[in-house]
């Protein structure tokens, strides 16, 4: 593939000749970026980032593609095939490695080393952003997808004040809520990631080791193991506590019922905090705690948003990429960003004790620390961190059918999931 032709030699000489000039001239940095963040707290956060970019003298050209990440990928694919990739785009998880194979990415090693970023990023996370051992993407913020959001009013109805630690505690609390007049103890949307999140929270809470083997490593034995069956059984309990009328609605449709105590518990990522605050609700309306874990130590289902940088020849775009990379790694920027969206910073050295951070975010950050120490920080399946999209979708197919169909037994679900994995390999 990498045959040296006269043309590439010429181009290389040309580039070598031009580069010093480009550096000498002070070009105005410009950044073309695409992401899925168009509205709400996500939109507000990236707009704020754009403002900072402009304050540093850059031109910010962000084209959001609303919807799931896959929708944004369609635009990215079209741009890459047209030979005009954005200077920078959102991308995350194993997709970074997959996509870096279809178009050349920037080597960020020097910039990352200069900022000393590698020392402050969790190693498991860093690995995802270094396809072939070289930094091509930079993580920006972290969520755990299995956080518990407890409605204060529903807790009052249940006369409960203890945050559940294990799944047994969780089930007891849901029962109490039901008895106390909370119509639906679990608040949930009806989209596929919603259903996937319930399953991953159940399995990782029951056994992080089984989760790692089954969902991250796709180990055949683990996929048929007893923990899988237990997880599906727990999902059935959760499904029975949900409002059956959600159909395909987004979870955010039900936030007001959740806050009012008509629904009790959400199993969501930290982004729900940003969405709740953006919808006008207060931090006092709900409690955020780490997801249930049967061994008592927090389990962290890692979901990290990142920016990947695509190779561009234009001097202004190159300058823009450098500026963007520096901004993304900047602790002040990560603080600003996370305080808007409800995530926690990627940098492990950011202090979350100050104002502007919620108790939920502090709990999330300490949960991450403890989970990493206990080797219980795992990658989220439902949010495309554990597997590439094709495998994830095949697995979620089984999970979402199971959630919506009471006649499927946990045993059948285990078999179907194992088959789906085989079929998608």
């Amino acid at each position: 593939m990498s045959r040296i032709t006269r043309r590439t030699l010429l181009a290389a000489t040309g580039a070598a000749a031009i580069t010093p000039i480009a550096h000498a001239q002070a070009v105005k940095p410009r950044l073309t970026a695409i992401s899925q963040w168009s509205a709400g707290s996500d939109g507000a956060a990236i707009t704020a980032l754009g403002k900072k970019f402009e304050e540093k003298g850059g031109t910010w050209q962000h084209s959001p593609v609303p919807g799931f990440t896959t929708e944004m990928m369609n635009k990215l694919r079209a741009q890459i095939m047209a030979g005009d990739p954005p200077a920078c785009s959102q991308l995350k998880g194993p997709e970074i490695t997959a996509w870096s194979k279809i178009a050349p990415t920037l080597n960020l090693d020097a910039i990352v080393a200069a900022a000393g970023y590698e020392k402050v990023v969790a190693p498991d996370l860093a690995r995802l952003h270094k396809p072939g051992g070289k930094w091509a993407a930079l993580p920006l913020q972290i969520y755990s997808t299995n956080m518990l959001f407890l409605s204060k009013r529903a807790m009052d109805k249940a006369k409960a004040d203890k945050i559940p630690v294990t799944w047994a505690d969780f089930n007891a609390l849901a029962e109490k809520m039901k008895a106390g007049g909370v119509t639906y103890p679990i608040a949930n949307g009806g989209t596929r990631p919603d259903d996937g999140q319930k399953f991953e929270a159940a399995l990782a809470g029951i056994s992080p080791a089984a989760y790692r083997a089954a969902c991250m490593n796709l180990d055949e034995k683990a996929l048929k193991g007893p923990e899988m069956k237990a997880a599906f059984a727990q999902v059935r309990k959760i499904a029975d506590w949900m409002d059956p009328n959600t159909a395909a609605q987004h979870y955010s449709t039900f936030l007001s019922r959740f806050v009012a105590g008509d629904m009790g518990i959400m199993i969501q990522g930290g982004w729900a905090q940003g969405v709740l605050l953006n919808a006008g609700f207060k931090l006092d309306d709900f409690i955020i705690a780490p997801g249930p874990s049967d061994n008592g130590k927090p389990v962290f289902l890692l979901n990290a948003d990142a920016f990947i940088f695509w190779q561009r020849k234009e001097a202004d775009l190159q300058a823009g990429q450098k500026l963007m990379a520096e901004l993304v790694m900047d602790p002040a920027i990560q603080t600003m960003y996370s305080q808007i969206t409800g995530s926690i910073p990627v940098r492990t050295d950011v202090d979350l004790s100050g104002p502007g951070w919620s108790d939920g975010q502090r709990r999330t950050a300490s949960a991450l620390k403890e989970a990493v120490a206990a080797n219980q920080a795992v990658l989220s399946l439902a949010h495309n961190m554990a597997q590439e999209n094709g495998m994830t979708a095949a697995m979620i197919d089984v999970i979402t059918e199971y959630v919506k169909n009471r006649s499927i037994t946990p045993d059948q679900a285990v078999t179907r999931l194992a088959e789906a994995v085989e079929g998608a390999r």
């Binding site: 890459i80 996509w99 279809i102 409002d243 959600t246 159909a247 395909a248 590439e388 919506k404 169909n405």
Partner: protein, 305 residues
């Protein structure tokens, strides 16, 4: 122009005069035909390659096809297509015919009613799907309304019922398309020769008999045309389902077009998605080729008569 032959000036001039005609008719026609043919060929080619995120060269034979055909999604989608296709086409045609017959009675406010019935056609399927997803949602739509009126045992929860969910798409589809069927039928009804009807009246036939024995039989060609147009609507239905049920509950309302989109743009499997698209095209051909043959046979027969 390269075809300027060394002939007398007259034909050349005539040719030039007709040039705008050629440009207006042939260029768009060739472009659109080329568009269809080239992209169909390209999709078919991709369906035999190991393409994933972007198209790549290579040959994997029928692997993408066997893979798609083995998935649960495709099986469910194809079964749904049979239910949806039959339900949507037959019921829409019936409702359209009924509306057309009612409007044909020279009623007052005909123009207003016709516009009202045709109006849903002007709304995109996404809007139809979204609105009906609210109307049909038991927690906030029709069921809640009736329950709040006092009929608390009323149940209309097809949207969240796995077995009935596909019929919610049929309902929304009928709402959207029956006006279109009505317009075609009405045109047909109006084009029945008045002499025929007069003759039937003189023979003493009542209005029902006139419809069943005189007018409707002359409508056959229109019925077939409406059916074929509706059927190809049904086969390529995508946005309606996506907005209304999102393919759920679970996978209960998957349709082939959703599976194609899912493979291509959600799962990063261009090869398998293309294979599913080609399978869809074959289904469409299964409808259109017999129709074309039938038309051809008819024309031959008419020409001979």
């Amino acid at each position: 122009m390269s075809h300027a032959a060394p002939s007398p000036a007259r034909p050349l001039f005539a040719g030039l005069k007709r040039l705008p005609e050629f440009l207006v008719i042939w260029v768009p026609l060739l472009l659109s035909a080329g568009h269809v043919v080239v992209f169909t060929a390209w999709t078919t080619w991709i369906s035999f390659t190991p393409s994933t995120l972007v198209p790549v060269d290579g040959w994997v034979g029928w692997r993408n096809y066997t893979n798609v055909l083995a998935t649960r999604n495709w099986k469910i989608a194809f079964d749904n297509l049979l239910i949806f296709g039959a339900g949507f086409v037959i019921l829409t045609a019936l409702v359209g015919l009924l509306l057309a017959i009612i409007i044909d009675q020279r009623i007052r406010g005909e123009n207003v009613l016709r516009s009202i019935f045709l109006y849903p056609m002007a709304v995109s399927f996404v809007v139809t799907g979204t609105v009906w997803s609210w109307l049909l949602n038991p927690g906030m739509g029709i069921q809640k309304l009736v329950n709040d009126w006092g009929w608390t045992s009323f149940r209309f929860d097809w949207l969240i019922d796995r077995d009935m969910a596909i019929w919610t798409i049929v309902i929304a589809g009928i709402w959207q398309s029956s006006g279109f069927a009505m317009a075609l039928f009405l045109a047909g009804l109006r084009s029945v020769e008045a002499d025929l009807i007069k003759a039937a009246q003189i023979d003493g036939a009542g209005p029902v008999r006139i419809y069943t024995r005189v007018i409707l039989p002359t409508l056959w060609p229109i019925v077939i045309a409406v059916m074929v147009i509706l059927l190809q609507f049904a086969i390529k239905t995508f946005d309606l389902v996506r907005a209304l049920t999102g393919g759920g509950p679970g996978l209960a309302t998957q349709l082939p077009a959703l599976v194609v989109y899912d493979f291509m743009f959600q799962r990063g499997h261009l090869g398998r998605g293309s294979a599913a698209a080609v399978l869809m095209l074959l289904t469409l051909l299964g409808v259109l080729l017999p129709y074309g043959a039938w038309k051809y046979y008819q024309r031959r027969r008419d020409a001979r008569a």
